[in-house]
């Protein structure tokens, strides 16, 4: 790499997460290209909060996200499908409790 290339490293992909209201979790909204963290944050603000969507932004380099392998979805997720007893639907909720 060119030695004088200090402040402009190569462009990379970032994932953007926005928290729209206090108390909610940050939610993935998309991805963008930027040269570094500061510019990624700026670009996220410019691209994803134009209509007042955000209170807080996270940007994460896409390559740092560890993802499950789609070809392993049978092993990973299918065993859970036959275990209906894990859903909390077998309790009788007394009427006085109302909506939980």
């Amino acid at each position: 790499m060119n030695k004088t290339l200090k402040a402009t490293p190569p462009v990379q992909l970032w994932e953007v997460f926005i928290r729209s209201r206090s108390g909610l979790a940050h939610k993935h909204v998309g991805s963008l290209h930027a040269e570094d963290a500061e510019l990624a944050l700026q670009a996220a603000r410019n691209l994803f909060t134009r209509r007042g969507e955000g209170l807080s932004i996270w940007v994460v380099p896409s390559h740092l996200i560890v993802a499950s392998d789609p070809s392993e979805k049978g092993m990973l997720f299918e065993p859970a499908l036959s275990k209906a007893y894990r859903h909390p639907t077998f309790y009788n909720v007394p009427e006085e409790v109302g909506h939980m």
Partner: protein, 263 residues
């Protein structure tokens, strides 16, 4: 041209509002020319966002000018639209800096940086204006310009301290734009009257802070502040470069040839 040029009764208050509005409109229009042409989608959106902020500021200031301008002889009153679309080059009061052609991305960023480093502290100081409407406009605008300054500063640093090519382009942009920066700090008799009433601040009081901001960012960008002290002026009194006429021709063509056209 079907629609005639308007006349404007430029009382000090009207002149002041038009000057600030014209800066924002013309610079906003220049940024709108980048739409679809920026180096990346991300920067395309960023420049368009800044342009929209500026055009919004212009609208608020034109509305204020319309409110403060005495009615015309025939009873008609000017509006945001007539100020923008029905004044000729000589009636525009914007800084020459704002009307200069875009050039490359580096020059667009540098022009926006030099302007934002001035206008952000300017609006911050104007939040204390004795005029409640001006203070409200300043408060809204300052939040926007603070971001413009941050955005452009980051790019000036990265492009200046980037490759030899980007560094040279940024230095060239700085040299090209430098003599147009002095006009930002000019003030005249009309403005002195408003200053005396506490309605507006003295723009020249912003100069030292502006210079410090610019120097700090240029140092980090490894760029050199030009030494030349000679400064262009004329925009504030309607003496413009040849570039503004072309800009207005494009911006005004539709409302002038199709009066009253709506979406």
């Amino acid at each position: 041209m079907v629609t005639n040029t308007i006349s404007v009764s430029e009382t000090p208050q009207v002149l002041y509002a038009l000057r600030r509005a014209d800066d924002a409109l013309i610079l906003g229009h220049r940024l709108s020319e980048c739409c679809g042409h920026a180096p990346t989608l991300e920067e395309d959106m960023a420049l368009a966002n800044i342009g929209l902020d500026l055009i919004g500021q212009a609208r608020a200031l034109y509305a204020l000018a319309a409110l403060r301008e005495p009615s015309l002889e025939d009873g008609r009153a000017n509006t945001e639209d007539t100020y923008a679309y029905l004044r000729d080059v000589g009636q525009y009061r914007n800084l020459l800096l704002c009307e200069l052609p875009n050039g490359d991305f580096g020059r667009i960023i540098m022009r926006q940086f030099l302007y934002s480093a001035f206008i952000d502290p300017y609006w911050r100081a104007m939040m204390k204006s004795s005029d409640a409407q001006l203070a409200a406009i300043a408060e809204k605008a300052e939040k926007e310009t603070a971001y413009h300054l941050r955005y452009t500063s980051e790019w000036v640093i990265r492009l200046g301290d980037g490759t030899p090519k980007s560094h040279d382009r940024m230095q060239a942009a700085l040299e090209f734009l430098w003599s147009y920066t002095g006009e930002m700090f000019d003030t005249d008799e009309a403005e002195a009257m408003l200053q005396a009433e506490g309605m507006i601040i003295d723009a020249s009081a912003i100069h030292d802070g502006w210079r410090t901001t610019v120097q700090t960012i240029l140092d980090r960008a490894t760029l050199t502040l030009p030494q030349s002290a000679w400064m262009q002026k004329g925009g504030r009194s309607g003496r413009h470069s040849e570039h503004l006429g072309f800009l207005l021709a494009e911006m005004q063509q539709l409302p002038r040839s199709e009066p009253g056209a709506v979406w």
